[in-house]
Symmetry: D2
Subunit: 159 residues, 4 copies
DNA sequence: TTTT
DNA sequence: TTTT
């Protein structure tokens, strides 16, 4: 069945990069996508859409995007559920990105929250590319994400 | 910003049609969209995606689709939140359909749950069309939906 | 950069299956997609959109779809040019399908132009699946497509 | 039937704005959309996709976008044909934009080809908005587009 | 819990 | 709470 989503918006926060027990990278981020029309009160609203991306593009996202970055997402709608710590079933709808597009150069006026000295003119970099840009070597270390507890499982892998 | 979703799937139940206090029609339904790949256990899963549609297409949806109907949706991702009866903030992600496509004739083998005697070959009817098909006249009666409590407000209208 | 197309329509003819010199399958077909609105004269028109699909899905398309079949396409817009036999540069815009969705059972009332005796209830078969359905074994024979001259090159492969 | 396209790319030239005999604005432009993968020779190619947009968004496009501007398009695939001056039938496939997204501030480094002194931070302006930005008043003058011959007809209007 |  |  067809299931396709395309979004362009700005990250509400820096992306979160984590690793499954098997060392597969996953990044989560939220896109604020402004609506093209105003509501009854006359102001523009936005949708805050949760996105997930796996593997190499996850690492590219974590390396290139920060709070405020303009990004495009091409993916699909996914629903899943889990039982929270109160024993309640929680239903989640999120976008699984097949690819993420970086629509601004790194460190443009919109994402000065990272302080890398190495600016780069992007103009359409695709997160699906392989790259030798990551300096942290965290690729080989599932716990490199500063020891944050990992609650995602390899079963969540989209394929 | 861009926000576009296209889905093709089957209704998990008959759609629910309601009216705002101002008499604007809204229909809700869930599409089961089968994934194109299998999970680690080797079985095909589906995403169960909540959809909303407003005004005339809402009534067309309620008249044409039933549990099991194959339908296409062209719309956008919307997020909103409300406080539930336990005083907790609930976050909702759903698809607001601009148009809904009926991909099967009415009363095909997949939607025999309605028992109208009036079969019709569809093959691509678009819910955006006006139509004189509704017999209930509920268009003029916001309470025609058998007295079900209406908890949606006109503020939820997408435009 | 983002480039995404989703279509649902009916094949205007049986698909054409061919093979590159290296034996890679390609299928071409045209989808008639009815417009959701009428023109000034009050009649509904359609767009006739040329589609290409490669590899295994190409063979599935050739096996499952015939003139009149309802199908969904998820792909991208591609432009290319070639010099025709009059030495003129011709520009082509077409859709390269990543996946093709079969939205009707084989041999439904809309695609009786093939005369296979083996009907099958489909209801959402995805062309990306591998399958053991092809009986012709043409997979190993680049000229199996009844000796038709092959004018596509392996350079046209999308990846 | 479903027909949806989403593109993000850069204009290959300044857009062309024209008016039908009835004074309806139309803008044409071509988007260069880089492919996310390299070809056999290892270089990245692009698709050059012709787009049309009507009415108010046409004027916004003409006012905001220039050669090199990064833009997003949400629209549909359209095919049409006409007889050229050699009496030959020409088939055209193009994207009819429902909305065009401006993904860069006006006069950013990528579209310095216009020399307006009035820079403006955009960050996601939607061409569908009404605006009081046009100074030329060409809205009321179908020949304001410097006398260029108009070969489009009101019959080409999408609705 | 939200971006420009 | 899920469809074929």
């Amino acid at each position: 069945m067809l299931n396709r989503v395309v979004l362009v918006g700005r990250l509400t926060k820096d992306p979160e990069l984590r690793y499954t027990p098997n060392g597969v990278a996953v990044a989560n981020f939220t896109l604020a996508v402004n609506r093209p029309f105003s509501n009854q009160q006359g102001d523009r609203e936005a949708d805050f859409i949760n996105c997930v991306v796996w593997r190499k593009p996850a690492e590219n996202v974590a390396n290139f995007l920060t709070k405020g970055s303009l990004a495009g997402v091409d993916g699909r709608v996914q629903t899943r559920s889990y039982d929270n710590n109160e024993g309640r079933r929680v239903y989640v709808t999120e976008i699984v990105a097949d690819s993420v597009q970086f629509l601004e150069p790194r460190n443009s006026q919109n994402n000065q929250s990272n302080n890398s000295s190495n600016s780069q003119a992007a103009g359409g970099y695709d997160s699906n590319q392989n790259s030798n840009r990551q300096q942290g070597g965290y690729n080989d270390d599932p716990f490199a994400n500063d020891g944050k507890p990992i609650d995602i499982s390899d079963d969540d892998l989209p394929f």
